[in-house]
Every structure is written in C-alpha cells, then in structure tokens.
C-alpha cells in the first residue's frame, strides 16, 4: 500500500518496520514529528526525554540490553548529545542504535546553520542521507542493518526540506526482530583508558571495512548521462540537481560517511569535470579533494542557506531573473493572548537587561517589546546572567534577569541555576512556565505532569525544586501585570538567587474568550507598545481584530482610560 507521508513520518515508519522497540528524543524543529509519529505505533515505547543527552543515553541503554533503539533530535541537539555519542562510537552497540539528526539549512527555525555531517566525521559514526520519504523509510531499515553488522551507532541525517516534505511511501511489514542477548563485557562497555584504547583500534578497522563495502552498496549509485559534467550529491539536493541539470551524470550518495572511494574515483575518471553540490559545509568536496581528485563545489555554492533548483540553475548560467516585490516583512510574533507578552511588558517597564533562552519567548526580542539582550542556546540564560554579574557586580543584577521556559529549564537550566546558587550569585530568574513545550508544536514535558501519550505522570514542582536547590522561589500569574511587576521588583532586590515562576498556559492550549471591546479610545497608543497582532492602529485610535483577539485582557490592564473592555467570562476561565 502506498501512503503519502511527511519525511518525519516516514522515518518513524522505517523505525517501526525495522523492529525498533525503544524511542527517546527531545523535541526540536525540524525533527519533532518523528517521535510524535513513532508514538502512534504501540509496538514502540516512546518518550520525550528531558534533553538530547538523556535521550541518547536512554536509547543506548536499550540497545545495550539488545533492543533496536532510536533517538531523534535537531542539529544543535546533537551537540548536547555529543558526549555519549563520541564514546558510543567506541563501545558500539548490541541491538541496533540509530540517531536521527535534522539539520536546518537557511535556519527556518534555528539559531545556527551547523552541518552534522562534520560530527559524523569527528565521531567516526557512519551517516546515511535520504532524498525523499520513500528513501527515509528504507534507509532506516538499512541503518539498523549497518548498526548491527558493523557494531556502531548510525546517524540518519535529514534536513528541513526532507523532514517537512510529503511524498508517497510504499509501506512494508514490521520485521520480527528477536532482541539480542546481553552479555556482560567490560572490555566493550566500560570505557576506561585501557579498554578504550583497544576499542579505538576497532573503530578504525570498522570504518575501513565499511568504506570498502560502501562501493557496492546500492544506496550509492552512478547515473551516467552526458559525460561532460559529473555531479556528486546526496539527500534532497539530489532532486534539485536532477531537475536543474537533467543531462548531468550523477553520483548519488546514500551513505555520506564514510564515502565510497573507489566508486568516486571511477566516476571522476569518466566525466570531464567533477562537481560536488552540497548544502552548508564543503564536507564531501574536502573528502574527495583529499583523495587527490580535482573537484569544484563550494567556490560556486557558498556555505550558506539552502540550495534549490533555481539556485543551482543560476550557478551554471541557466537561471532567470526574478523580480520580487518590495513589501513589508511579516516576521513571526508572539501569538495574541501569549503570556510571555505580559512578562516582557513588565520587564520592559522596569528597564531590565534580559538574558534570553530558546523558545517562543525568543520572539520577545523583536519590536516593539525589544525584550531580550541575548539568546544563545538551550539553557544559556542563567549562566549568562551569572557571568554578567561577575563582570558588572551584584548591583547590576538588581536590574537584570534571566528568562527561560519550562521545558528549556528542565533541559539544561537546572545545572546553571545550581552553579549560580553554589557560587554565591544574586541573579533573578524568570521561569516562563507556559505549561507545555510550545515552540516545537506543543509537546509534553516533566513540568506539566503528562508524558508523550498524555498519560499522567509525576509533575515537577518548580517552586519546590528551586527552593530545594537553595534559591528563593515564588509563583506568579504573569497575565496579572501588576502582580508580575511587584514580584520582579521584590525578587530583584533580594540578595541571593531568586526564581519567579511565571505560570500561565500557552494561549494555543486554552479556550479563547470573547474579544476585547473598544469604548472611548483616546488614542494614547499605550496598548500598541505590547505588540499584540490583534491590536491595530486605526483612524483616531485603535481597533481590535476580532478574528485574532483571545480576550486575554492584558491590554485592558494597561489602558489608562479604561477604553478596552474585557469579556466578563475572564475570571472563570483561567
């Protein structure tokens, strides 16, 4: 049966057909839907882990006991998981272990454009790259075969365009995989120097064996057409090349690490000029150049952004001029009714320096809230705020905060909070607890007390946790602007680390109220300072876009003329 599947759904299907039984992941665009889709197969026990390192360690433990296991994450999540991964490359696996990493060329939803293919090389972990949903499913099955035959974790690398494209997939049956027996073997699983030195030798041998076998792997294939031009490519770029340069000969790589050296040499020998067309870094080009083969690529494509049919055409003088209109941009915004808007407004009124983090609230950096001074990576806000205090002194921390979301705090904020407490900091942390992992599309987390199947589980009590660690902590409803402002003033004044848990659910997971009404607007413009997409400037005042307004009532708290009137139901709903 054929089904149209999102690339990410096809990965999950591939894991299912490969007989996977354990999946542990942390959400991150563009990888999130893999694990969401995996959770719809009852044969696979899935979970949202607290972070990618924990996810890989959990999948590793499952593999060690003989199960086929998968862990999925976005490219920057691979950095978090790098510690177990680099050593898992030494120990190898028992049941197959596949790490799916989703890169984001052009940064549709990311803070950098790093290329995970370099991590495959750095860690000596083989990497497969599918070009469409069918290949995504098929390569998952191959990935488990490679993992078990070569005793190694395997990366399946996708990019945003693969993850979030839908294309037809021929479904197959689930393999009946018997879990491998676990035998205690400290020379394999206990990586102390004496054992690790021996395993490192094995890593090199394994990789050489796979490199030779790659020459006869059907996933690496040569399509000979016009011999004047040969292109080496892999992943979704293959389809761009086929369409932009239909006459070019192509070496399509399915295994992009290690490379099939003999196949590449033969191909290079048959074509007049050899190109590598690849997104981001010139990883394959460098590997081929290191074989002593003359090749071009990055001097044409550059290191940045996504490729496309049009971009490849224009590199070879086949493009046409595109005239795009000069129109106002539409950057993403905090949603109408978002509780972060109220928090940022309170912080703005107090003119605070704000160290930000990764989540929807990163959008608070934009006009008109201008609410952030920094955003670096998951969990960085607290460390940055404490580092700033070390430079500028404790007085500085009277007018600075770290803001961090509930899921991000659980992911990697807790160690930095302990660090600030332990080392005598006096910073203030605003924990923006919107009761869900929102930006990636509403995944469950330990702070809400529900697991991936929406089954009730233990709920982390943030106030109690922070107090136990040694901070002063309190909970506030940020939708009450006055209460939030008071809490900020009091906690900023406190000589020690304090945490304000600003608790209010994401506007997209609670019912809307009736829209706010406008009566007697005096055109002062104060409500426009919060940047709510539902509040529009109109002739002589403002008007509310009823199709967007959630009736959250934050604007009506700010209006000095009481011209913005809440629907009466507000109190009952929250």
């Amino acid at each position: 049966m054929k089904k149209i599947m999102l690339g990410n759904e096809a990965i999950a299907r591939g894991a299912y057909e490969a007989g996977v039984t354990v999946v542990s992941s942390y959400p991150g665009t563009p990888s999130t839907e893999i694990t969401e889709a995996a959770a719809t197969y009852p044969e696979m026990l899935c979970e949202w882990a607290t972070n990618e390192k924990v996810a890989v360690e959990t999948a590793y433990g499952a593999s060690m006991m003989g199960a086929r296991a998968m862990s999925c994450m976005k490219h920057v999540g691979v950095n978090v998981a790098a510690d177990p991964l680099f050593t898992a490359a030494y120990t190898g696996v028992n049941g197959g272990l596949v790490i799916v990493c989703a890169d984001d060329p052009a940064m549709h939803s990311s803070q950098n454009e790093q290329d995970t293919r370099q991590i495959a090389r750095a860690s000596h972990i083989p990497m497969l790259e599918p070009a469409d949903s069918q290949e995504a499913k098929d390569m998952m099955i191959l990935a488990y075969q490679i993992s078990e035959s070569y005793d190694t974790p395997v990366f399946v690398r996708i990019t945003t365009r693969l993850a979030h494209q839908r294309s037809p997939v021929e479904l197959g049956e689930r393999l009946q995989v018997v879990p491998k027996e676990y035998k205690k073997d400290i020379s394999k699983y206990v990586m102390m120097p004496g054992m690790a030195r021996k395993r490192h030798v094995m890593v090199e041998e394994r990789e050489n064996r796979l490199r030779l076998d790659a020459d006869s792997m059907p996933e690496n294939r040569v399509e000979m057409r016009d011999k004047s031009m040969g292109v080496v490519c892999g992943g979704v770029v293959y389809h761009y090349v086929r369409e932009a340069l239909p006459n070019a000969s192509v070496l399509k790589l399915g295994l992009t690490y290690p490379l099939p050296e003999k196949m590449i040499r033969d191909f290079a020998g048959q074509v007049d000029s050899l190109y590598v067309i690849e997104e981001l870094e010139g990883v394959i080009e460098r590997d081929i150049a290191a074989m002593g083969i003359s090749v071009r690529g990055k001097d044409l494509t550059g290191l940045q952004g996504e490729l496309s049919v049009e971009r490849i055409r224009s590199l070879f003088g086949l493009g046409k001029t595109i005239n795009t209109a000069d129109l106002p941009a539409r950057p993403p915004v905090l949603c109408p009714g978002c509780p972060h808007r109220a928090s940022f407004y309170a912080m703005k009124k107090l003119k605070l320096t704000v160290f930000g983090d990764i989540g929807c609230y990163t959008l608070g950096a934009l006009k008109p809230l201008n609410g952030l001074d920094a955003s670096l990576c998951m969990g960085a806000s607290i460390g940055m705020a404490f580092g700033a205090e070390k430079t500028k002194g404790k007085d500085f921390s009277r007018s600075a905060v770290a803001v961090i979301g509930d899921s991000t705090f659980l992911h990697s904020g807790i160690p930095s909070l302990i660090n600030a407490i332990y080392n005598g900091g006096t910073i203030t942390v605003v924990l923006l607890d919107n009761r869900i992992t929102a930006m990636t599309g509403h995944q469950q987390n330990a702070g809400m007390g529900f697991d991936i199947y929406s089954h009730q589980t233990k709920e982390v009590d943030f106030v109690q946790l922070c107090e136990t660690l040694g901070a002063r902590a309190r909970e506030v409803d940020p939708m009450n602007v006055r209460a939030m402002t008071t809490a900020l003033k009091e906690e900023l004044a406190y000589e020690g680390v304090s945490v304000i848990v600003a608790k209010s659910p994401c506007a997209l997971i609670i019912p809307k109220h009736d829209p706010v009404r406008v009566e007697g607007c005096r055109n002062c413009g104060i409500c426009l300072q919060i940047g709510c997409p539902a509040i529009l400037k109109a002739e002589g005042g403002i008007e509310i876009d009823d199709s967007l307004c959630t009736g959250c009532g934050v604007c009506s708290q700010l209006c000095p003329h009481h011209a913005l009137i809440d629907a009466p139901a507000k109190e009952e709903m929250v």
Binding site: K2, K3, I4, L6, T29, P30, T32, E33, H108, S109, D132, R161, H164, Q165, R166, S167, P168, V236, H239, Y240, R242, E243, S308, V309, E310, R313, K320, I322, N323, T324, A325, L327, P328, A329, R330, P331, P332, V333, L334, C335, C360, L363, L366, K367, P368, M439, T440, G441, L528, G531, P533, I535, L536, K537, D545, S547, L548
Partner: protein, 191 residues
C-alpha cells in the same frame, strides 16, 4: 499532467491542511507528488509558504519562481509577496482578508494598497468561511475555487476531504468547499 501549486498565508491560518488534501488527491489519482511545508517558528504568525507538485515524476519538493500554475493565497499581502512564483498564464487565487504584519501595526510601513500584477481571482474567503460555519475553513473555500480548475471530479475532492478533516467539522468544511466552487463558477468567466 503536471501541476505546481504554491500556498501562502500567515502562520496559523490552516495552509498545511490544504496542502495535505492536495497531496492526498494526487496520490488517489496515481500521480507522483511532493509537498513541502514550513513548520516551527514561522507558524507563530509569520509568512508561511507550502509547495505542492504533482505529475508523472516529481523531483524537487519546491516550486521554482515563475513555474507555479496556481497560487492559493490565504491573505492579501502574502498574495502580493508570492506573485513571482506564478508562471505567465498562471492564476492567483486569493483571499482578500488583510492581517496586519508587525511593521504595519507599528507604523514602520504601510499595508500595500496595490492590485495584483498577475491574473487573479479574489474573494472574501474569510467571510465566506464564517458563513459556512467556521472562520477556520478559509482553506476549504480556496480549495473549492481551485477544484474548478484542476481535472479531478468533485467526488474525488470531497472523499479526500472526508479522509483528512475531523469528522465533526465535515459539514462545515463541505459547505465552505462548495461555496468556493460556486464563486469560482460565477467569477471564473472573468478570468
């Protein structure tokens, strides 16, 4: 047969459901198909664009500029922004609804007043959707319009819609879809 369709709108407007239905229709007709979506940050009220390509063999998941047969635009500014995707004899099918982007709300830029520079069939799909029973069914109105131009029977569309939308919203979605077909029928003569 080969169709390139670009769907544009504002994050949260339901563009993904429209592309999912188009993908389902192509598959049901035995065509190769690729749909490219944008998830993540842009869905928070930013510009979103989805590409749908169907035909005997489809390579790239993205439509190249100047190669779209149809654009379905859920919002007027996004309609104008997407015009460069349309091929010379292509058709822009646009909802005239305006959703103000932040630069306009802040007074940094005016909302553009210009007409479409391409062949356009436009309608107030937002109000049509509200009349059909839900503001969320703008996507069905626009698909209804598009359905008059693609060579698939009404039953094929409605069967695919039934498979994809939640059952309790089916009647509303059908009403919106048929309203779209009706307006395409009435206005189509002018295109």
């Amino acid at each position: 047969m080969k169709y390139n369709i670009v769907i544009v709108g504002v994050g949260g407007q339901g563009t993904l459901l429209a592309s999912k239905i188009l993908g389902g229709i192509a598959l049901s007709q035995g065509l190769d198909v690729k749909v490219s979506e944008i998830h993540g940050m842009a869905q928070r009220g930013g510009s979103v664009i989805t590409h749908v390509r169907m035909g005997d063999e489809v390579f790239a998941p993205l439509v190249s500029p100047g190669e779209a047969d149809y654009i379905l635009a859920f919002e007027w500014l996004e309609a104008l922004r997407s015009e460069y995707f349309l091929k010379e004899d292509g058709l822009l099918i646009a909802n005239t609804q305006r959703i103000m982007p932040m630069p306009v709300i802040l007074g940094d830029a005016p909302y553009p007043e210009q007409e479409a520079a391409v062949k356009c069939l436009c309608m107030d799909a937002y109000h049509m959707a509200c009349e059909a029973g839900s503001a969320r069914s703008v996507n069905m109105v626009l698909l209804g319009v598009l359905s008059k131009f693609l060579p698939f029977e009404q039953e094929v569309w409605e069967e695919t819609i039934e498979k994809i939308v939640p059952p309790k919203t089916l009647d509303t979605n059908y009403r919106a879809f048929r309203a779209g077909r009706d307006i395409a029928h009435k206005q189509g003569a002018n295109v």
